[in-house]
Symmetry: C2
Subunit: 451 residues, 2 copies
Amino acid sequence: MTQALRHDAMRARNLALVLAAVGARESVTRAALAEMTGLTKTTVSKLVGDLIEGGLVVETGAVRDGERGRPGVEIRISGQHVAALGLEVNVDYLAVCVVDLARTVRLRRTQAVDNRAAPPVDVIARLGDLASAVVDEAVENGLRVVGGVLAVPGPVDMTSGVVHNAPNLGWRDVPLASLLRFPFPVRVENEANLAALGELWFGSGLPDFLHVSGEIGIGAGLVVRGRLFRGAHGFAGELGHVVVSPDGPPCRCGGRGCLEQYAGQDALLTAARAAASVRPAPVPPAAAPGNPPGGMPPREDAGKAGETDKSRETRTSEETGTSGEPREPSSSPEMLLPAQQGVAWVLSRLQEGDADARAACERAAWALGVALSSAVNLVDPDAIVLGGIYAPLFPWIGHMVADTLKDRLGQMRGAVPPVVVSRLGAEAAALGAAGQVIEQVMADPAALLHT
Amino acid sequence: MTQALRHDAMRARNLALVLAAVGARESVTRAALAEMTGLTKTTVSKLVGDLIEGGLVVETGAVRDGERGRPGVEIRISGQHVAALGLEVNVDYLAVCVVDLARTVRLRRTQAVDNRAAPPVDVIARLGDLASAVVDEAVENGLRVVGGVLAVPGPVDMTSGVVHNAPNLGWRDVPLASLLRFPFPVRVENEANLAALGELWFGSGLPDFLHVSGEIGIGAGLVVRGRLFRGAHGFAGELGHVVVSPDGPPCRCGGRGCLEQYAGQDALLTAARAAASVRPAPVPPAAAPGNPPGGMPPREDAGKAGETDKSRETRTSEETGTSGEPREPSSSPEMLLPAQQGVAWVLSRLQEGDADARAACERAAWALGVALSSAVNLVDPDAIVLGGIYAPLFPWIGHMVADTLKDRLGQMRGAVPPVVVSRLGAEAAALGAAGQVIEQVMADPAALLHT
Ligand SMILES: [Zn+2]
Ligand SMILES: [Zn+2]
């Protein structure tokens, strides 16, 4: 290693060290940073100067007594310059959001659209329009979007950006990375992984959990001590294809009796409709996650998730409006997309006390409990967070999932992981995507600064 | 942080840095160490002096041209002083081994004994005698045993050393750590975790794999990029209780249809005997792992595991004899322990072409394939290594496990992880236990040196 290279590497490492120390507190003085990092005050002052110049940290102007020695100016992460773009393509919606370096959600848009009907290039073009609009608005607000991550519902080769197989979208070997046109790098990652990271950074605040993304497919993301577990090839967390019953219904993965065949959105809907007539039921607006449906959930304690209230604060700290694009295809009940109609329809049936809907949820919850008992035995999570469609369904399924887990695990394990609801619902993946860009900036700020 | 504390912390970190650099190569000069670590030659010389004094590294005496500048003395990890003790209690045997800092296995002993019959305190006393004998012999050879790890077949609270539940031993809340009496620290850990680490350090040399320990219970250890995945509470890898069929036979864990009920040693034996008469069959000596049984395995390629040949070299580099204690209880066929008799008996039946034994293996292999397909979906390992009783059974079950995995995973995943055999067999856990002590010394050599 040459002297110059060694110097650059050390500067990059020290910049990250100082930025992490700033991020670890609400605000901090240069003297405290020297204490925290073990660097000299002179070095810290130089590095803080570089970070201020790059717009990553900001002096608050507030002056107070330093813990040691003379008063110092407080420094904090700047939310005014650097920002990240989160994007998601899912089966029945597109989502984008902009998050600033202080982790405040600045902008978000979702668009209901059936992406199974369109070729990938059209889906990406539509997503690009949605994203360009929020990026333009971010720029008007003085933000500089430095990178993005795109969430897709299927395993992704993270080095090439190729989506090998997103069966619910009908995508196979789609070179997604090469279809994206942005003036900043955009990586592609699995939706379930990013939803778990969204839950970590913008949701419950738990450091160890398995997050379950219920959509048409079912993915999971395992977070261990604040880090996502990806497996050897980045394909971990395919909970939807964990075996519930080895001779059960055939699955699109080639297996039989996978969880998706019992608890995926389509399976749930089919089961709920099995005995019901096909007459269109009145469809209320889809219940927002965090606003449990008005009907009587089967248990008083079913909505237990008080510890996830922080996610509401994150949302209300948003500086710009949350009004999305007009949801053209869903402007009237008749025009609802099949999937949306599905969950809303199931919810309305549950609220009416419909026995078939209840039975379908019981079956799905039992299957979730069986698959999750295998997951707990294998990966030992500290908690289970139910997200996606399971968030609005939580009052009906949560306690049944927990009961099945207790039946199957309680005897050998002292404590069975609690089953809680995600308050982020369908937004989790896009938020996790943006959060991942923020993480990357925090880990290597030198890459953003002119060296 | 005071100046003195800061200096000690930096010295400890630099000692570990230099020791790791020495360990990364066969041998290395001080000049090369300065290059590799970024430390000055003066600092490196001081640290190497401390490591030599502590017996952790040694000058080989060989002198050759340095890569840069003048010739230097080569330094390597010393195998002559510091050593580690590995211990294992399993259902039907005890095992101990001594491994030196250069990772050479110096001593090993196993003792066949039915530990289900004895209270924990007696089992530990017997293990203590076995261990004291090898520690004494190690001391006679000039070694200093600095620590030990004990493998037990069940989840362990690693902070307290309490074994909550080892159902196959009949142990519940046993304060194992407090029963151990050694003049050095001995920690307790799950057998399946340690067997995976044994495979990592002394077996295949693969960096990413799921190691399956088939015993009366079935555990698994997941290694990702050379590190063991433990889960939130250290209870990950309970493959034996992954659901194969949700309404299958009841399991001691409280669940139903767990893998252990289809592929555990007792289940396999019961199935193999189901239709066979109870007359005692002639029992050959248990086939050593690595020496496939003489009979005709069903496929020519079934024994594929050429890449694990390194483990043989590790074994042959042993300096002291491998002769164990006399296996009193198993000195004659009639006296074989039930479990040993079981696998040996199944092997002999397979070699004779017995249809019932074949069918029992088919059922076990199918169940292993089903449970492993769930595991691959959840944790995405790069390879699957079958150890414990599955090592001698591999020629009969390996291809069937692989076929079931391919059927269930092949359509969605580009590559299904290969299924290979462990060459360590029942020794894996004790070797992993000793290896873990070595890892700890490498990570924090300062703790061993007089500061
Ligand atoms: Zn499937
Ligand atoms: Zn079980």
